[in-house]
Symmetry: C2
Subunit: 239 residues, 2 copies
């Protein structure tokens, strides 16, 4: 595979060791963000106050990793002056960590909702987010996996998964809207659940961004903003 | 001023001409995004279908500019191997255009809301977004101005402006919630207005990001995720 070939070129040398170290840090950051997201969802569903507080407390670790990786990327560009695929890797990493950090923020905001007081009836609404949340967490897991292997085919599969998340999200919004109309006093709480649903849906969009960076690194092609037709052709050629 | 000194170093030479050209393109992209945002808001308030359609149609221009500037940045890094403040400028630009593109998406989504059918009564709700929208558009204008001059003091002023946008946003949400509770049939439409309010509020956050990149370029300091206390000290020292 093209990607493995270009990764294996980095096995020796100080520069390659540095690049590998950055890549490892990105994967560690991804692992932490995934943990934060699954813990936040668990805290919400189990109304686990301690877990929710820990997620909120740990968000600064995600932020610190973003800043440290960003610095390492700037340093490696200045010192090693990478070109071609090495440079694309660094640029892809700079962009990937921005999206990872925002997914970390989503975890924090879900944890905050977990700390709110819900009546039993409203608590059932939170449960309706369980499947959506797990779906988004799975998508994040898969995109990190694709990133670790710089696997374009896997990135394309993850990319397409977002459609289903969007449909699940829309179904939830319709359900919540009905609930609001039937019981207007529930509106403030239901709105909180809606904001959470929306931020979970956004995790899917951010995973799609990371797919685009993987493709950009491996193929040297920026597929953002391409038309659905062009995208279809690109995907057919890379399946 | 530090920033002017470091800008003036770029007056001569092919490299500097290239950097200047990228900077000019970023400002053109910023100008287009600002136009898109103010047109979208105008279309919403005046229920101007033609203007809304034009905003939606022109979003691809913003996207194309993002891709072109991104390419130019990667090219200049590979070819010219900038270091120190030159490199920071390129990195700041790569990040700035991501936020500008997302503000472009906000303009598009507001234009889509402008195409929806609202009853007269619900139309009044859209009007409640007018002040918030103008405030966000002004903040965007000011941050682009600060970017053009790489003016840290101006960036700090714009950064602090976001608090007020947040407060205006919260007041609107409370008002819309009351409206929903009084007239549950209005919920679907009011929710649309709420989503718009939220995306306008996010424009403020994105402008704050751009302020951070300006400070990063001029001061070589990454102020993201610093504690409110540290931020206060930094701002006091740079007023």
């Amino acid at each position: 595979m093209l990607d493995n070939m270009s990764l294996s070129r980095h096995i020796s040398g100080q520069f390659n060791a540095e690049l590998e170290s950055i890549r490892t840090h990105v994967l560690a950051m991804g692992g932490l963000v995934e943990q934060q997201l699954t813990d936040a969802l668990k805290a919400m569903h189990k109304q686990d106050v301690d877990l929710a507080r820990r997620v909120i407390k740990d968000d600064h670790k995600v932020n610190a990793m973003e800043v440290a990786i960003d610095e390492a990327c700037t340093r490696i560009i200045a010192k090693r002056q990478p070109t071609a695929s090495d440079l694309r890797l660094v640029i892809a990493i700079i962009k990937t960590i921005t999206d990872l950090e925002r997914i970390g923020d989503v975890a924090e905001s879900i944890a905050k909702v977990a700390l709110e007081n819900f009546t039993n009836k409203q608590y059932n609404l939170l449960v309706s987010l369980e499947a959506l949340g797990q779906h988004a967490a799975r998508m994040l897991h898969e995109v990190l996996d694709a990133f670790a292997r710089m696997d374009v085919k896997a990135a394309i599969r993850v990319y397409q998964e977002d459609d289903r998340i969007d449909r699940e999200y829309e179904a939830i919004i319709r359900q919540l809207m009905t609930y609001m109309m039937e019981d207007p006093r529930s509106i403030p709480n239901v709105l909180q659940v809606m904001w959470s649903a929306r931020s979970i849906e956004r995790v899917g969009d951010r995973c799609q961004n990371i797919c685009e960076y993987i493709i950009y690194f491996v193929k040297g092609k920026d597929i953002r903003h391409t038309s659905p037709q062009e995208m279809e052709i690109f995907m057919d050629n890379n399946r």
